[in-house]
Amino acid sequence: MTLTVTDLSIARGGIPVLQGLGFDLRPGTALVVRGPNGIGKTTLLRTLAGLQPPLSGHITGAEDTIAYAGHSDGIKPTLTVTENLTFWASVFGTAEIRPALEAFELNDLATRHAGNLSAGQKRRLGLSRLLVTGRPIWVLDEPTVSLDVSAVAMFATAVRAHLSQGGCALIATHIDLGLDAAVLDVGPFRAKPRPVTDFDGDFL
């Protein structure tokens, strides 16, 4: 499944942030999104995940193929690690959570309540959710926040395994994951403000 983005413009809070963005994401490849803070990386990823509509442009191949991981992991502190994962597995219609637990070394924590996990462990649990979604395109927003070096390596291994199975990944991150990934710098696509005299139907 190839994700194709053409001439995409997106807005945050009604203000255009990026425009004219286009790229292809083919099976087996990863794309790292870079750009200064506040440029609209998160907005871009949320748009791709279908959480908000684009201002203009086309996104194809995103229907029911994207597993999105944002800043918060959607983890319930009063459920155990297994219960958290099993829930997402059944929502996405997959049965097996073992490989996900193993990939992020969560086996020993499986019966613990997620509220008792450290920030890094929680993050690992959040990322292991990607494996139980069974979806080919991972869209990840700063996935390595609060992960230590070994956990980052775990994550990189999981991404590599996903790519080798024909999946693909779009990752907004500032650290080097050691992946063989193309880099998309969104800086040059910053939206140019329309002239002030242009006082038309949409105000901006």
């Binding site: 949320r46 995940a49 918060s72 959607g74 319930k76 009063t78 829930f87 997402w88 059944s90 929502v91």
Partner: protein, 218 residues
Amino acid sequence: MIALLLRDLKLAFRAGGGFGLGLAFFLIVTVMVPFSVGPQSALLSTIAPGVLWLGALLACLLSLDRLLALDWEDGSLDLLATAPLPLEAVVTIKALAHWITTGLPLVLAAPVLGVLLNLPVAGFSWLVVSLLVGTPALSVIGTFGAALTVGLKRGGLLLSLLVLPLYVPTLIFGAEAARRGAVGMDTGTPMLMLAGITAATVALLPFASAAVLRVNLR
């Protein structure tokens, strides 16, 4: 869908889930009523159906701001919105979970509290039936209110302001059915209207709730 319902129920019953708070509130409100209007049993038995309906309604209202806000804060709603489950189903399940954890216990507790307020014997069955039929509408309407205010930091008070006017028809027909039942009058019309409101809100309002939730998520 079953998984989401089971998770919500589990969350409600675990520590800190808030299960039983609505019930305790219902009890306290009912106990406060004689203190405010006096202990004459004739007066109490006249107002009992209405007071119990109002108490149940307020108890329902009290738990609404947790209905979607917790899932909003920890990012679960974002993830659910990108899951294969349609958002209409998500809000319906949320409303159902709210009804099971709040509405149903209120229905079951109402007769006990009816004893405290000298509810006439004939009124018990009608009180329970009217609450059983009416509380699902309260949960569904409440879910719409919760979806409207989910992105707001202090949405609780606003939520009440938005939801209470929407509760008016349900309250009128529900309390009227219970009141008529208590004095032995015909309850047909209000019960039919109440059932109609519940059926219509359950069938239609989830679409509005999902639509406003989508707006709030973007």
